[in-house]
Symmetry: D2
């Protein structure tokens, strides 16, 4: 595996190749950095509340490994809800998407990410989509492996295949999440009661919260976005990592439900599949066709952004603005 | 105008050009026609309840005017909610999208098309998106023109520019809608009370219900889909009819909210921007980039489908299946 | 009728008889008057917003006509939601309570008085109780009489029988209500759409809003409370005005739903059937058994309070405090 | 204690005293027993699902110990939600009602007993009343005693004081409850997350579910009803067991919220404070004043009913009918 990863590292072009793009990106990033003061770091998890809110970083990886980055692109942060996409894909790979979709719907809700209302109001309580906590907890219970440790190991291995390095769980964040997980436990027990959980509550939560606590940098999630952009095919590894149909499904969910209850606005004003986390990460996948020919940066790229100051919906304030600017300038739009 | 329309008619290629495609399309259509028995014609409007539920028709128009059609493609039906896209675009052209979006949000809801709950629960009661009744009634109040008649005339003129012929209002359906509009009046008065209606309730409803009652065939809505596919540019008229930004916005809304509370499933399983109506119409816009090179039918096309037997969400049963099949076979997918 | 009313006037004992009680009542009232500053006059109806918020008045009428009063007890105010009790009784007298209760339930909701959510969420949309707007509008459509005028006339005649004088509609308030009735129209059209309205929307609203605009003073509503306290029997007229069973039903509704979504707190902390209105009126009925023998003021009394400064729920702030004090001191409590 | 209980036993008059009343009661009971087929035993707890649904029993205890009973009056059943009244009183005795009411409101909701929606929709998530699961779980966390065992022991001792015998927990039912408590755990974790739980979730649930599993017969709950009827004074023990104010509060809550989301109908059609449980128990408290002088059975009595076949709301079908009949015939009504 180590060998493989080195190869993947080589496939990524050095910064020298993309100096000009970096300069442009840097100008944009510093333009939006002051807007970080319009947001706040997530307060409900102590470990998240302590980070420097003025951080902003971005990495973009093109289909040929061309790499552009700027700002706090190497800062480490936890995946949080960005992990929901990865868990969903892994569950579909394990069981087939039909099996997964019998247990979680794919409808956007307009509700907050941790809402429980719809589980009661809409019988029989099938979680509405895998991008909100209820759905993601159900998905966590479906992952391959007998024990929570096996499930997490399989996720970590899956991520390693995509990003080219072994990522690990931030234990401090995980402990923090575990100790403040009342609302998620409430959701999980509700799902258990209505039959939409296939493991014990504690096992599902351990897997879910460990996924949330996986530590990455912007290049890591840009690389996952790159694989999604290519429908599950890793253009640098030159390997199909998961079925095209699952990738399409994941990107559709990112567009309709990926940015919490601001997903509609992201689709309308940015127009690329993206998933955010309350740690301030945004992972975007720009399909190859989603730009005009001759664009300054080739479509078919993955974008990773980190800006821990988030808005009321849970999305990175400056990160969202930066992504919008990039998408507009480089004509990235699936619609 | 008559002259113009003739020219547009000529730009559409004769059926002789597309014989092979028609044959394929015909096979698919007849394969799905029996599934019409799984749905029922909309019952709440008497005039809709009386049509033959076994109808199924489709028209597809390519970027160069290539036309493929089959089944009940010439049957007339009323736009119903398909008109919501047109009204939204017209309002954005009139006021700029910023003005419109201050009065209607762009978030999907997961609720039924005629739901009123969210207007009360989410203060201050801004309708969640223009693809559900509440939002569409607000949009109707924003249309250009002083009287309802002027507003409707401007919509009819706008449609004529897109489809190349003057369409008209089905008076019987309109009267039927008007007399059974209690729920829509309830929504409209609620919006009036919270300040999200810019005309009188009666004027807004007259405009809204007349829009819903505009009579078209599948070629008409395929043509509107074609213009949307090309970001507001009419490839046969060779004219930009509305701004690219408005077209992108409309298509994003079609994906996140266009198919009632089954929109997520349409995005996930079909993957092209589409808007349905309870009369059984589906209008889809396939952007130029949304297929692989060398596809059997060129992307950058508009699709119009009619199948009046609808499902519990309000979407044409066989029409949805046919669209899914077409999208899969011809590799139409924006994600 | 005039003659009758004079007799009723004579049955009420002169103030001379109750000097001591008046003095006590006066002390209490002036103690609570400063709390009027904790509330505000209802703002949504211009005619209500203009009254002096520092007003506070009370009238209590005992079973033998003993009368105690203090403060702004002669000030005129409109019934507003206090009329909901009267309309409900009149509809039950007209059709029998079984008929009425098929069209409106008797369950408290915990929701605001003008809430529409439950009509959609709980199929088939039967209004939850006649003490909230939705239920009261349904009840208005059930009143006896062919035209709105006849219905209102029958209500006015019914009130006259109870209070001993002809009360009238405050036209300015009615016009004000009519012009700001968007939310009530929304409710009414919703009810019409689900079949829970037995007249036209406009007729039901005219009756409902005219009822709300009936002008009374505290003695008037104390007299109605007196009749309710005696299960429909008028102890001064010595006449059964409506069936005991209807009076019990009305008082049960006052306890469970009468004080808007603070009804539970009124039941818990005051313990007598009461109905409030946003104009600041509170009508309470103290059944004969609801106090210990030898209480300073006999149970079997009616209480009318007016204090236009209302709280967030719509109940008179100082009026509620005064009622609580009276009930505690004089040991009025049905539980 | 044993001695005390014997004295209490003696205070209850022998059946010989009340032969005639028993005969009448027996006729009524057998008249309503066939209606048990209109209900079903609670299915969600296996131990409840297995009992004979045709059972129906009643015990009434008058202020002087006069006792009337009939049918399956000696059958044992678990308190279930009837315990909510007892827990609420015990918590008020422990902390004062003001302390308790800061942590649980007293508003009826119209929602199902196990609903979670309102905890999310109404910020900050204070449970609406102690008669629904959410509120009762909060109350369980407030009970006196350091460990769950101490809390339960204090409840059992409190019940012993009222009923004159030591009741015990049905371990089989408790185990059954514990193993099917997903929904209650969901509620409890939600409350923990919003700060409305003062113990650990597991401790609160152990106490709550053990309370629910306390085994009684109709005489036991009639005796508790008797004490409530006398405002906390035990007329046979001649001792004030808890403050009058707490008793009034408990009875008000029984009227507004005691019969699940059919509470309004019980208030309207029966008119005495009552609390039901899904095991089929109904405990009613008839205040001394709540009947006319010379009634066949004296008011100031407690009524215990058991009929395990329950309706959709969770109330005993035949038990409710029998209570309604008794109240009507003997003129019990607080309104």
């Amino acid at each position: 595996m180590a060998n493989e990863n080195i190869q993947l590292g080589q496939a990524i072009q050095t910064e020298a190749d993309s100096n000009e793009t970096d300069t442009i990106l840097h100008t944009w990033l510093e333009h939006y950095r002051p807007y970080t003061t319009n947001g706040r770091c997530a307060a409900y998890i102590p470990a998240l509340a302590q980070v420097d809110p003025s951080q902003l970083g971005v990495t973009i990886i093109g289909p040929d490994g061309k790499l552009a980055k700027s700002g706090d692109c190497d800062a480490l942060f936890t995946l949080q809800s960005v992990s929901k996409v990865i868990g969903f894909i892994a569950a579909c790979v394990e069981h087939g998407s039909a099996y997964v979709l019998e247990r979680v719907d794919v409808e956007p809700t307009g509700d907050a990410f941790n809402s429980i209302v719809r589980l009661e109001v809409h019988k029989p309580g099938k979680p509405f989509n895998p991008m909100i906590n209820a759905g993601a907890i159900t998905v966590s219970s479906l992952l391959g492996g007998k024990s929570p440790q096996q499930k997490i190991d399989s996720i970590l291995a899956f991520i390693e295949k995509m990003v080219g390095r072994r990522v690990s769980i931030n234990e401090e964040v995980y402990q923090s999440e575990w100790q403040t997980a009342d609302r998620n436990r409430s959701l999980a027990y509700y799902l258990k009661g209505t039959g939409f959980l296939e493991s014990s509550v504690e096992d599902a939560l351990e897997v879910y919260l460990k996924e949330c606590s996986i530590e990455v940098n912007t290049q890591d999630i840009a690389m996952i976005g790159l694989v999604l952009a290519h429908d599950g095919y890793h253009p640098l590894r030159k390997e199909q990592l998961f079925p095209k149909e699952v990738a399409k499904l994941a990107k559709a969910l990112m567009v309709t439900c990926g940015m919490y209850n601001a997903s509609g606005k992201f689709a309308a004003f940015i127009g690329v599949p993206a998933k955010s986390g309350v740690s301030g990460g945004i992972m975007a996948a720009v399909p190859s066709h989603a730009s005009s020919p001759g664009a300054p940066f080739p479509a078919g790229c993955g974008i990773g952004i980190y800006g821990p100051a988030i808005d009321e919906y849970g999305n990175s304030v400056a990160g969202g603005m930066l992504l919008k600017h990039i998408a507009k300038e480089w004509d990235f739009n699936i619609f």
